[in-house]
Amino acid sequence: MKTNCIGVIFSNIGDNMVRDLTEQRCIGSIPFGGRYRMIDFPLSAMVHAGITKVGISTRYNYRSLMDHLGSGKAWDLSRKNGGIYLFPPYSNMASSTNATRLLELAAMMPFLENSKEDYVVLCDCDTVFNFDLSQMIEEHIRSGADITFGYVRGKKPRGAGGRMVFELDHSKKIKDILIDPEQTEDCDYAINISVHNRSLLIKTVKDAMSRNYTTLSRDVYQRGLSTLDMRGYRLSGYVRVIDSLSTYLSANEDLLNAQVRDSLFCADRPVLTKVRDDAPARYAVGGKVKNSLVADGCLIAGKVENCILFRGVHVGKEANLSNCVIMQDTIIGDKANLSYVITDKNTEISPGRTLIGFDSYPAYITKNSLV
């Protein structure tokens, strides 16, 4: 079903939370779960909610994002009407490399103005989820709110420019917004996905720009508590924010849990991603794999336990991997020994090397490096 709604995705917001992984890419193109990129989660949710026009804002390090998105065909977003609109930095914007949602929205104003749909969904790329976004949009329309924010209840993760924590009344109206409060208890914190009325969003952004404001959360939402009708919408299913390298590792390992997999990879709303045409994974003689997620194109001759292996990974004979995330096309030499290690794309671990990290501080090997 087509909806009366367009999407906007911010691909850089949160880059600084996982600096290692975003050295050569934006948070939207961080690989996740064996074959996905972080942007696949919001993009798939939008497509499954019937959104066919998505603006993607990007400020820097976007080569790998562009490569991943291509024409948008993998998400059915290579279209005559709508499809993907990519917004790299504009040279005429003074603060063009500054990534805040407000400035980025201001930069894509013609896209917002020229659309005919009544609603806009804004979303970041720092969260792994797969919920039915169409229900959130419906709820927004039904309630007549100005803005509806997605939230979950739990321990507050970090957030780009501060994570919003809500105080909600019984009708889910937002009574108060705190940004990064000292909080150790469970709270209702924002997942940065929100539904807006397009005309109001345009007005708000223009107004905020005329006052030289820079952020949505502090300058628009907090200041608008008394004037805007803002409501919360609790997200269901598996929702996890990636706010550090260790949560990146543990969120990947969450996929080894059957309930998480069922929630995230549900058959009705598959997570869509770019196809790479690898052959099925090949278990060679001597390969021994336990409790792991293995993508196509892998060749396994060693021992693998509690790991996520991305596409095209080779594990040598008598190599021993435990609790690792091994990204695309990594070569693990014979008899190498890795534990709590994240290897980025195209790395090579020479035979016999040993690398040990810890769950709260995984070892990270940068892209294209040789150990």
């Binding site: 099925p280 994974a281 090949r282 390969g287 794999v289 336990k290 409790n291 293995v294 194109g297």
Partner: protein
């Protein structure tokens, strides 16, 4: 818009493949699953695009639904093009009546208008029944260099096998002087691979002449090739050296799948320089549980493995539960092997459920009479009841009840 194209490929994909039994009850042979994520037709289609041939006509006739869906716009093979690209060509009705494709040659004859749009010099005729990787561009170069009217790709087979194939008897320079279909006493071991390149103007004339002959069975092997030879056309054999397998029978399909697990077989699906493309579903990577025990196997995206898997191929979304055993078997997409079930030397088609404790197939050495042995085959969407037994070499076409023995 149609642009002039040097070489147009015509892929014969209408065959029923009746020797594959229940596997081709509802799908045409080229659409039969192979190798964990492919269908047979992916091989000739990928060969075309990798060889730089971007105009392909696919001739369909038997059970075309799945094949049509699968080919779609041709995007997975990069064959969605403005001018050329892939075109599915079913038989059609004309003013003078409607005809099914009477034979392979007639199928091409009926599509002369399609080929003519591109004004090709050459036409490459392929069949959708074989697993192989081949650079057709090299064959075309050979065809041009030798100034042949027709070039036929041949494979060197053993003398014992030769009587199962169409055999080309050649002179020293590679030119063919005689063609023998399944000769009892083969004079050579050069077997036709079903890959032909013709000069289009010559082929066109022969197709028209053949069509006018009411006694002809309108077949390339039976009619066109022998007539061309008889008329003194220059016909060359192009020797191909590499893996090639006709997957026409249950056993050969099973065998060709397991060949992928044999390191000495030279069909490398991981080769980045000659990828085999396929239309793939969106599936997460496969999950291997702590109880799983997997040896020397191919496992695809979306599988869930908790049992014992040895020397087998698991297609996407196949499930092997804890305590189940799968050995020397091919488990097609979506099939579920439940707890304690045993599947040996078998092919389980799409979306079957093998209930707890059922036993399917058996090893050759378990047979009283070894010549009775065969690969067990379960057709798509069937359920094999708890504790049921399906013997080695048996073919199952309907649900098997709990405890039943077949």
């Amino acid at each position: 818009m149609f642009y002039k194209t040097e070489c147009v490929a015509m892929l014969l994909a209408g065959g029923q493949g009746s020797r594959l039994g229940v596997l081709t009850k509802k799908i045409a042979k080229p659409a039969v699953p192979y190798g964990g994520k492919y269908r047979i037709i992916d091989f000739p289609m990928s060969n075309c695009i990798n060889s730089g041939i971007d105009t392909v006509g696919v001739l369909t006739q038997y059970q075309p639904l799945i094949l049509n869906d699968y080919i779609g716009t041709g995007a997975p093979w990069d064959l969605d093009r403005r001018g050329g690209g892939v075109h599915v060509l079913p038989p059609y009705q004309r003013g003078a009546g409607a005809d099914w494709y009477k034979g392979t040659a007639n199928a091409i004859y009926q599509n002369i208008p399609f080929i003519e749009r591109y004004h090709p010099e050459y036409v490459l005729v392929l069949s959708g029944d074989h697993i192989y990787k081949m650079d057709y561009a090299k064959m075309l170069d050979y065809h041009k260099q030798s100034k042949a009217d027709c070039t036929i790709a041949v494979l060197d087979v053993s003398l014992e096998e030769a009587s199962r194939f169409g055999i080309m008897n050649t002179r020293e320079d590679g030119s063919i002087y005689e063609f023998e279909e399944k000769p009892k006493v083969p004079k050579s071991t050069k077997a036709s691979m079903g890959v032909y390149i013709f000069n289009w103007n010559i082929l066109r004339a022969y197709l028209e002449q053949d069509e006018a002959d009411e006694n002809s069975s309108n077949d390339f092997g039976k009619n066109i090739i022998p007539t061309m030879l008889g008329n003194g056309c220059k016909m060359m054999a192009y020797s191909f050296d590499g893996y090639w397998k006709d997957v026409g029978t249950v056993e050969s399909l099973w065998d060709a799948n397991l060949d992928l697990l044999n390191p000495s077989v030279e069909l490398d699906l991981l080769d980045e320089n000659w990828k085999i493309y396929s239309r793939t579903e969106n599936a997460p990577p496969h999950y291997v549980s702590p109880e799983a025990d997997i040896h020397n196997s191919l496992i695809s995206n979306g599988c869930q493995v908790s049992g014992y898997v040895d020397y087998s191929v698991l297609f996407s979304h196949a499930t092997v539960e804890a305590g189940a055993q799968v050995q020397y078997s091919i488990i097609m997409p979506g099939a579920v092997i439940k707890k304690g079930a045993v599947v040996k030397y078998a092919m389980i088609a799409e979306n079957c459920v093998v209930e707890e404790g059922a036993v399917i197939g058996g090893a050759p050495e378990e047979m009283e009479n070894r010549s009775d042995w065969g690969v067990a085959l379960v057709g798509e969407n069937l359920t094999i009841g708890k504790g049921a037994v399906v013997g080695a070499g048996k073919m199952v076409e309907e649900n098997v009840k709990e405890g039943q023995q077949i």
